[in-house]
């Protein structure tokens, strides 16, 4: 049977095209537009080519922010992924009231809006009225996240771990729940040690969800803005100014639209690139093991 050729069908795609154009393509192109022009106001623009990109690439300020960003993301991933696995392993395996209760408790931090998380920790850590800050100082520890860079970092990292480890736990827990009982029984019969059970049964079965968890944690932490902004505002000085905080300062604080546009485009590409590398490497690893 011959298929009827009817190009009119393309019109059916039109609404989606319009929607995507308005919500994604045109805003993105505006940013691209800003990134290659300069303005002195009054909507008058001058073509500057790749100057802004050069400036951003050579900017020490951006280099420092990127460095801080990489250190931050590495630290929280090194803590959250193992900690998440560990907590998931301690969760009750049988479905019941106890496991539901655990799940709800674990999921709670994920339900709190990000700026509220920032506010909670901002107050929690204050040395005059905050439970944590006051207690630490009462114990004789000179804790002050507003002035001490190390304390600011520790507070932000603990806050992020507190907020996001739950996500890793939930994903790992789902992975663990999907392992049939027979595996554990067989391991018992084979007299496998606890470590071997983890290494040969639980970890391989969790590999898929761990990939997703790592990817999500990477993307989220690399773009983190709200919580550190509320907590420290990027300070003391610039020590907790991560990429997105810097970007907002540049775009809205200084109103340097050109450099900020160039910056955000590169920021976007870096995240895209790293996520892609991440995903390809991990899935290839998976495939190789399958041979």
């Amino acid at each position: 049977m011959n298929k009827t050729v009817n190009q009119k069908a393309w019109f059916l795609v039109l609404p989606v095209l319009v929607l995507v154009a308005f919500s994604a393509v045109i805003p993105l192109m505006t940013v691209v537009n800003y990134s290659v022009q300069d303005t002195f106001g009054n909507n008058i623009f001058y073509w500057v080519g790749l100057e802004w990109f050069e400036e951003i690439l050579n900017s020490e300020r951006i280099h420092n922010a990127l460095g801080r960003q990489i250190i931050f993301t590495s630290i929280i991933m090194l803590i959250e992924i193992p900690l998440g696995i560990f907590i998931a392993l301690q969760m009750p395996k049988k479905n019941g009231l106890w496991s539901s209760l655990c799940l709800v408790l674990i999921a709670l931090p994920l339900l709190i809006p990000w700026n509220v998380v920032g506010t909670i920790w901002q107050i929690f850590g204050r040395i005059d009225i905050g439970l944590l800050g006051y207690s630490l100082n009462a114990l004789g520890i000179d804790y002050n996240y507003v002035q001490n860079p190390l304390h600011a970092w520790i507070t932000i990292i603990v806050m992020d771990v507190w907020h996001w480890t739950s996500l890793v736990v939930l994903l790992c827990y789902a992975g663990l729940q999907s392992i049939p009982d027979a595996y554990y029984q067989a391991a018992k019969i084979d007299q496998a040690s606890r470590i071997n059970i983890f290494r040969y049964i639980e970890l391989p079965k969790m590999a898929g969800v761990l990939l997703i968890a790592s990817l999500l944690r990477f993307m989220d932490s690399f773009m983190i803005y709200t919580e550190p902004f509320v907590l420290t505002g990027g300070g003391p000085g610039n020590v907790t100014t991560f990429l997105s905080i810097d970007l907002v300062k540049m775009a809205i604080g200084q109103f340097d639209l050109g450099p900020a546009a160039a910056f955000s485009l590169m920021y976007f590409l870096v995240i895209l690139l790293i996520s892609w590398v991440f995903f390809t490497v991990m899935t290839n690893l998976d495939k190789k093991e399958g041979v």
Partner: protein, 359 residues
């Protein structure tokens, strides 16, 4: 290797069992002889797997004791019992190679490496996975994975027993036959006590020296395949084993005769039964078409030609009676009379077989 004794064993999954129906496994006494091959046969949910898990120590029974030889192992851990078990669905360690998989139980027991190497090669040869020994287990087919599970079950030579929990469920039919034959050969070679759980009667009858039939948490009969076929102890065994299963007719018995719908059936033996539900059972193999005017009048519902023989399904006042006749037999199209082979008729009182007195 050991003789396994179950003494007053019972198990309930609820922590506070009130009546009999709370028990997944009802009170049971049994001795598994050392070196025999047993099949544990029964429908799904009859307590087979529970019994198996209790023997291997994955489950602690709520009542009773288990002995290996004279050693009480009721509360002993799986590792102390030294038992191998193969499960219904293949369990392989995905990230290991086939070789590492087979060596795993030995390695965990800190066995000498040169012995492991030799033993693994031997087992690989037996189950036919020599070519893929160095492949990762993950990419293999379900068949091959289950073979590895079987291999891991047999790799230890000193086990007290090997338990199989419906191990051939996921295997292709032609492979099933091959693996079953291999298992049988292995049993003769290794002389381990083997307990093989299945709900497939062919599997049970071909594999085992003795078949243990379970129904509703109880062992209803233990016997050789012939005994199960000719003298089922319980109506369930008669119905469950055989294709089609045994025919049952509810009758009234007086002396040597059974009465049903004004017809009378000669039993050969003398029975004195005064109360309860009385049934007679006869295998379709021992029912034949009568060539004269005697016998039970039936209506023929359907004839199924299965190649080697024909299955004739008939209706006797609302009760189905099946018979098996040779494929050359001419079967009348509407109604006929049936004869029973006298010595093959069994009498059941409330489901259990009763012996008659010989006259």
């Amino acid at each position: 290797m050991a003789k396994i004794t179950l003494s007053n064993l019972a198990h309930s999954y609820s922590s506070n069992p009130k009546n009999e129906s709370d028990y997944a496994l009802k009170k049971l006494n049994h001795v598994w002889d050392d070196g025999s091959a047993y099949a544990l046969l029964g429908p799904s949910g009859c307590g087979k797997s529970t019994l198996l898990n209790i023997i291997s120590g994955l489950l602690i029974p709520s009542e009773g004791q288990i002995f290996f030889d004279d050693h009480d192992v009721t509360n002993a851990d799986t590792s102390e019992r030294n038992i191998a078990q193969v499960f219904q669905f293949p369990v392989v360690y995905d990230t290991m190679t086939v070789k590492q998989n087979l060596a795993f139980p030995l390695k965990n027991r800190k066995v000498d490496a040169s012995y492991i190497e030799a033993r693994v090669n031997e087992i690989a040869e037996m189950i036919g996975v020599t070519e893929v020994l160095n492949n990762k287990a993950q990419g293999l087919t379900a068949d091959a994975k289950q073979k590895i599970s079987l291999g891991r079950g047999m790799v230890r030579e000193d086990v007290n027993a090997i338990l199989f929990d419906e191990p051939l469920t996921v295997i292709d039919p032609h492979m099933k036959w091959e693996l079953r034959t291999q298992l049988k050969a292995l049993h003769q070679q290794l002389e381990h006590t083997m307990i093989y759980v299945t709900h497939d009667q062919t599997e049970a009858l071909t594999f085992a020296d003795k078949v243990v039939v379970m129904f509703d948490g109880k062992v209803v009969q233990i016997g050789t395949p012939t005994e199960l076929f000719e003298r089922p102890n319980h109506t369930f065994v008669g119905y469950f084993i055989g294709s089609p299963g045994m025919n049952f007719l509810t009758v009234a018995i007086e002396g040597q005769k059974a009465f049903i719908h004004d017809e009378e059936i000669d039993l050969g033996n003398n029975y004195s039964i005064s109360r309860g539900k009385v049934e007679i059972g006869i295998r379709p193999e021992f029912v034949s078409l009568s060539d004269d005017a005697s016998g039970l009048p039936v209506k023929i519902k359907r004839v199924e030609d299965v190649g080697r023989h024909k299955i004739v399904r008939t209706d006797f006042y609302g009760t189905e009676i099946n018979l098996i006749v040779s494929s050359s037999t001419m079967v009348p199209s509407d109604s006929c009379r049936l004869k029973f082979k006298k010595s093959a008729v069994n009498v059941y009182l409330d489901g259990w077989r009763v012996n008659g007195e010989t006259v």
